[in-house]
């Protein structure tokens, strides 16, 4: 994309966002701006107290509002895309054809997601993150698929939890288009590891799933980043993200 197109496109995205700003949340802004600032400060402090060094005030700022949430998604997609790129660059020994087919497709999907967010965010996009995969043994099927399962379930939980933080119905739709594909990935990887574990909601209870109601995982950004942080070297500041 040439720079001029990028600027124009970015301008379009912004005006779209302003037009579609959610009514109820807008009212919160207009009516309780002062208290929102206080809550925001309290949350930042809370995050610091939690001692999570991957949610760092000096780190890469995801930003606020819908762009903040899109950057949060962009960060997660960067992590997933980098992981599957490595998986396919150094495949574990005797990778069966169907597993190679699935993992290659998932790699392509995650790259598509990553690059989509990069272009949609334009100048608002955070930089490329440096990953840390030192805990993953890419020569081991169990390590690779186990990590893939963790990433996909986390991705599902992240998008499910972030939906309510968005104000634009257009971005909510995009998130919806992506999360069901992450759910398809999660189910597929789970089947490769353990037959009929595709939707083991009881195993996802700690991530907000409720098996008794048939509800999948859902997590808030700070909880997702606390888990994902293990794999990201770059410090991330999520303190300006919306919290409701």
């Amino acid at each position: 994309m040439d720079p001029q197109t990028a600027v124009q496109k970015n301008g379009t995205e912004q005006s779209l966002l302003e037009q579609r700003i959610n009514r109820r949340k807008f009212l919160l802004f207009s009516g309780t701006a002062a208290s929102a600032v206080v809550i925001g400060t309290a949350c930042s402090k809370d995050v610091e107290v939690s001692g999570n060094n991957n949610n760092n005030n000096n780190g890469v700022d995801l930003g606020s509002g819908d762009f903040g949430i899109l950057n949060y998604a962009y960060a997660l997609e960067q992590l997933e895309a980098a992981f599957y790129t490595q998986v396919m660059a150094t495949p574990y020994a005797s990778m069966p054809a169907m597993e190679a087919e699935f993992l290659k497709d998932i790699r392509d999907h995650e790259i598509a997601h990553r690059e989509f967010f990069k272009n949609a965010l334009g100048t608002n996009a955070i930089k490329g993150l440096e990953v840390d995969f030192s805990s993953i043994d890419f020569t081991s099927r169990a390590s690779v698929l186990g990590t893939a399962k963790a990433f996909e379930d986390l991705g599902v939980a992240a998008y499910n939890g972030a939906g309510k933080l968005l104000k634009s119905t257009d971005y909510l739709l995009i998130a919806g288009k992506i999360v069901s594909v992450e759910a398809r990935h999660a189910a597929s990887i789970r089947e490769l590891l353990a037959p009929n574990s595709f939707a083991d909601l009881a195993s996802l209870a700690s991530m907000g799933a409720d098996n008794s109601k048939g509800l999948d995982a859902q997590m808030m950004p700070k909880d997702v980043l606390a888990i994902a942080g293990k794999y990201v070297k770059t410090k991330i500041n999520a303190n300006n993200l919306p919290t409701s």
Partner: protein
């Protein structure tokens, strides 16, 4: 628009209108800010939203979405309830039957959850039973295009796949109408991704089937939707066309104005570009798809 006049009119009917909204002063401040920042066309919506909050009403949209979702979940729940005890599934492996039981139980849970959500929102949930559905897709005749669904396992899985992929698209299409209600939106998203997991599993089961699987020649069925391919060929063009309705519009390779194919110099074929994003269906499209399965 003179908002103060509107409020004055409401005050005649409901003297406590300002108390409901917080205080008169705050209400006025909000109106002033709303008027300043929002485009004129959006003001009535913002005001409506304020009143919904003030009077504790669940917006009609939310109730409508919950009731629509309940119908779809009943359809799925009743389908799997009959499926697991069918002659078709009697020919399946124990593992396949166990998978269908897992899915059935989720759909039953979704029905119960949505019924409770509708009641909590001040609505009255419909109660549907097996008698309300015709899983042959014959609008009550019992002789529709899928009349073998409970007799032939490949047909049963083809119908299940279509229901699950349709369900995913249906929830996706309704999410925007729930954006003002965080709790309902989150729950809907949580159901939506469970349907996505189901869809992937059913597709995987079809792929792993030995013998007749109704997968078109030359197609490698995957857990995700490639372009707008159903991955189903029942050997009858008319029936294939009925199934195709659930997949039309899935071949999108442009998202929010961003072309996905080979994006930013990465080698991403159109097939994978389309797979990476599931597409929504409107309520009308979904109702058109499920209509043959519901008795009039």
């Amino acid at each position: 628009m003179n908002l103060q006049n509107i409020l004055t009119e409401i005050e005649k009917v409901d003297p406590e209108v300002y108390d409901r909204m917080d205080t008169r002063r705050n209400a006025m401040q909000r109106f002033a800010t709303v008027g300043k920042v929002l485009a004129a066309a959006a003001v009535p919506f913002a005001v409506g939203s304020m009143f919904k909050k003030a009077y504790g009403q669940t917006p009609a949209d939310v109730l409508d979405v919950l009731k629509f979702a309940l119908t779809l979940e009943y359809l799925e729940a009743e389908f799997y309830k009959q499926a697991v005890d069918s002659a078709a599934v009697a020919t399946a492996s124990a593992a396949d039957k166990a998978a269908l039981v897992i899915i059935r139980d989720h759909e039953i849970s979704h029905v119960a959850f949505l019924r409770a959500a509708i009641t909590a929102s001040g609505g009255t949930p419909d109660t549907l039973t097996a008698a309300n559905f015709d899983f042959s897709g014959g609008m009550g005749s019992g002789t529709g295009p899928f009349k073998d669904a409970f007799a032939m396992y490949p047909v049963l899985l083809a119908v299940a796949q279509t229901f699950e992929d349709t369900g995913v698209r249906a929830y996706k299409g309704q999410a925007g109408r729930l954006i003002e209600n965080n709790d309902v939106l989150t729950a809907a998203l949580q159901i939506h991704s469970v349907e996505g997991r189901h869809a992937a599993k059913i597709r995987y089961m079809r792929r792993m089937m030995t013998g007749t699987n109704l997968i078109p020649a030359g197609v490698t069925l995957q857990p995700w939707i490639t372009l707008d391919q159903s991955g189903i060929d029942v050997g009858d063009a008319g029936v294939n066309a009925v199934i195709q309705k659930s997949y039309n519009g899935e071949a999108v390779v442009m998202q929010a104005g961003v072309p996905i194919t080979n994006i930013n110099g990465n080698t991403i074929a159109a097939a994978e570009a389309s797979e990476a994003f599931d597409e929504p269906l409107t309520k009308e499209q979904v109702l058109d798809i499920v209509k043959p399965f519901i008795k009039a």
